[in-house]
């Protein structure tokens, strides 16, 4: 029996086509992740040399590579600038970028919508409202911020998901609509909460709402790093289920995926990721949208590669954006969310047109 084949169209979108065909394998994933991780470390080192205060490059590198054990000729103040202010901020940027990118990639796979993103879906806003409630009403307790941020993110996720459920399930269009509804509602909630604050705090809150990596404590940094790494690992472990879910919940179910369990885990872990990012640095937009897209364009849609790769690339993206934010009008600073939006929005338009 002969059926005519379709016309010859070679997909140009796979960078690693040559290696073991187009399929994602363990070896390929390891190779890609190692390469990207090396790039991340390099970028962190380079960005540590940049800032509003000039530090001697060689001495700084030497100090960084010895993990601060030897001062390598840096003065006490320079050492403090490098290790107490700059490096923690860069690491926080990496944690936030990685968290948001992985959350975005997971939402996109689970909700089968390439436009799903924590920011656009109103989940970042939910976390922001949670954080603000914590700051205004529970300011004394340090852990209230990440906790309320996580709750806010989770509630927003569930509301968006519920709103988007039609008879045919959550189609991408309904999802975006639900996301817009939730985002606008929560934005007004944020405005409402800001009116409860006095005028002097409003300026700093507006800055924070646009993403601000400068005001974070050591505890929040460790929490953010821990959540970023463990969240990525958990979601990567479910990557194969996500691959199948990407092609339809019913199909995935028929093929053996425990759909409700995976969905619950992804929602919870992604909300944790978004919550911890927003609690420490406000809403940094476009990372969860643009980074997974770029990763998929180059490496394919297999989540077993794209989830870890998105984590590392998201970290790189925010670290670079934050470096721009803190050096471009030094000694003044811009909110990092403004830079990610400036880079991300045109990039997103370009990606849309490519499809």
């Amino acid at each position: 029996m002969t059926i005519s084949s379709s016309t010859e169209i070679v997909p140009k979108h796979r960078i690693l086509r040559g290696i073991d065909g187009t399929r994602a394998t363990f070896k390929k994933t390891l190779f890609v992740c190692a390469l990207l991780f090396a790039a991340l470390v390099l970028i962190i080192l380079v960005m540590s040399l940049l800032g509003s205060e000039k530090l001697p490059a060689q001495a700084s590198l030497c100090a960084l590579l010895t993990f601060g054990k030897s001062s390598c000729g840096l003065t006490g103040d320079q050492d403090a600038i490098l290790f107490d202010i700059r490096l923690p901020r860069i690491l926080l940027g990496a944690a936030v970028g990685g968290s948001l990118a992985v959350a975005g990639a997971s939402y996109q796979s689970l909700l089968r919508n390439p436009l799903a993103e924590p920011y656009l879906l109103g989940i970042s806003n939910g976390a922001a409202v949670g954080t603000m409630i914590a700051l205004v009403f529970m300011g004394a307790h340090e852990w209230s911020r990440p906790l309320m941020a996580f709750s806010g993110a989770l509630i927003a996720t569930l509301v968006v998901y519920r709103l988007a459920q039609g008879r045919t399930g959550a189609t991408p269009e309904r999802l975006i609509l639900a996301g817009v509804i939730v985002t606008t509602f929560l934005s007004s909630a944020i405005v409402f909460v800001t009116t409860l604050m006095d005028a002097t705090r409003i300026r700093s809150f507006t800055f924070w709402l646009l993403g601000d990596l400068s005001g974070s404590t050591a505890k929040l940094l460790w929490l953010a790093l821990f959540i970023a790494i463990s969240g990525t690992l958990v979601l990567a472990a479910h990557a194969r289920s996500l691959n199948l879910l990407m092609l339809g919940e019913r199909d995935a179910f028929d093929l053996g995926v425990e759909v409700s369990r995976v969905r619950l885990i992804v929602f919870i872990v992604a909300s944790l990721l978004v919550g911890s990012s927003v609690a420490s640095s406000g809403s940094v937009g476009y990372v969860g949208l643009v980074v997974p897209h770029l990763v998929r364009l180059s490496l394919g849609s297999d989540n077993r590669i794209t989830v870890p790769a998105a984590a590392i690339c998201g970290a790189i993206f925010v670290v670079v954006a934050d470096t721009i934010a803190r050096t471009i009008i030094a000694p003044r600073e811009l909110p990092v969310g403004a830079i990610t939006a400036l880079i991300g929005a045109p990039l997103f338009v370009y990606l849309l047109r490519r499809r």
Partner: protein, 317 residues
């Protein structure tokens, strides 16, 4: 057939006639209203003046009803004895105590236009520090004059006091006030003039870290109080400051504006400054933020607070 054509022509002409009637009525009405307006305008004698933003505005010769949309301007009004004419204020205008009896029209950022119009003021005083230019156009449509103040240093504040007093017809009282204020300012200058200026970091908020820049009038206050702001060269009025630069600046004294309208916010030094000489030597001073953030008569109180903090030896006699 001719009849058909004729009747059509008639209705067509009829429509035209109605249209012409409506148009002329409309024109007549607008002309009348314009005439009426002219009448009300000419009933009140007014003059033209320029406000501090360079705008030419029409101000009545006698002002009996006015509104202030900034706490600093409310303080100025009461300091020159014009409090009786104040018919509206913002919810933040809490000083002096008499001001709290006046009706509030909202906050400084977004006051209620309807409230303002309903109070029928003749003029509204606005401070650029509150970023109100956006709605001044709306008020002008209702023939409510808007006077914008704009002071970047202490002399600018004194100038504002004079101009506002001119508009409200309280020049003699203002002159008396300014004589006192200028006297206090010279006294401070005498005490601290000969001493080396102290390097000061003015912390507007700790997290995120905000400070003052070139355009803030507090920079001038610090200078007059015998100090120099380490951020005096930064463009803008309230820049968000890099923690690294704050650490590298190593100020000898840190000013924390707090305790007034801000409550206990900003009562801690930002972590980047914990290693500074100011903290090491215990030279962290909390000053009532209302004395420092309002470009009005209490700014001189703030000047004295600053001078006492920066040069305590000069005031111990």
């Amino acid at each position: 057939m001719l009849k058909q054509h004729f009747s059509q022509f008639q209705t067509f002409a009829g429509t035209r006639r109605v249209l012409a009637l409506v148009l002329s009525l409309g024109l007549l009405l607008t002309a009348c209203s314009k005439l009426n307006n002219k009448k009300t305008d000419s009933q009140i004698s007014a003059h033209q003046t320029t406000d501090e933003a360079g705008r030419t505005i029409t101000v009545p010769d006698t002002v009996t009803r006015f509104i202030s949309l900034a706490p600093s301007l409310t303080e100025i009004v009461y300091a020159i004895g014009a409090g009786d004419g104040l018919v509206g204020r913002t919810s933040y205008c809490t000083y002096p105590a008499e001001a709290q009896k006046v009706e509030a029209v909202g906050d400084t950022l977004k006051p209620s236009i309807e409230r303002i119009i309903a109070l029928r003021p003749q003029i509204v005083f606005v401070s650029t520090a509150s970023q109100l230019e956006a709605f001044t156009n709306e008020l002008e449509v209702h023939h409510i004059a808007v006077y914008v103040t704009d002071s970047h240093d202490l002399e600018g504040v004194f100038h504002s006091i004079e101009r506002i007093a001119d508009v409200l017809g309280k020049r003699p009282q203002a002159d008396e006030l300014l004589k006192q204020l200028r006297g206090r300012v010279s006294a401070v200058a005498e005490k601290v003039g000969s001493r080396p200026p102290v390097r000061v970091f003015y912390q507007v908020s700790d997290e995120p870290l905000y400070t003052i820049g070139r355009e803030a009038f507090i920079t001038d206050l610090i200078k007059r109080a015998g100090g120099v702001s380490v951020t005096a060269d930064i463009p803008g009025a309230w820049p968000k400051y890099s923690a690294e630069s704050a650490l590298a600046a190593k100020p000898d004294a840190i000013i924390l504006p707090t305790g007034g309208s801000m409550g206990d916010a900003n009562s801690n030094v930002a972590s980047a400054l914990k290693r500074s000489p100011a903290v090491a030597n215990g030279r962290v001073y909390k000053i009532n933020d209302d004395h420092l953030s309002r470009p009005g008569p209490r700014a001189v109180d703030g000047l004295e607070d600053l001078a006492r903090a920066l040069h305590p030896e000069a005031f111990n006699q």
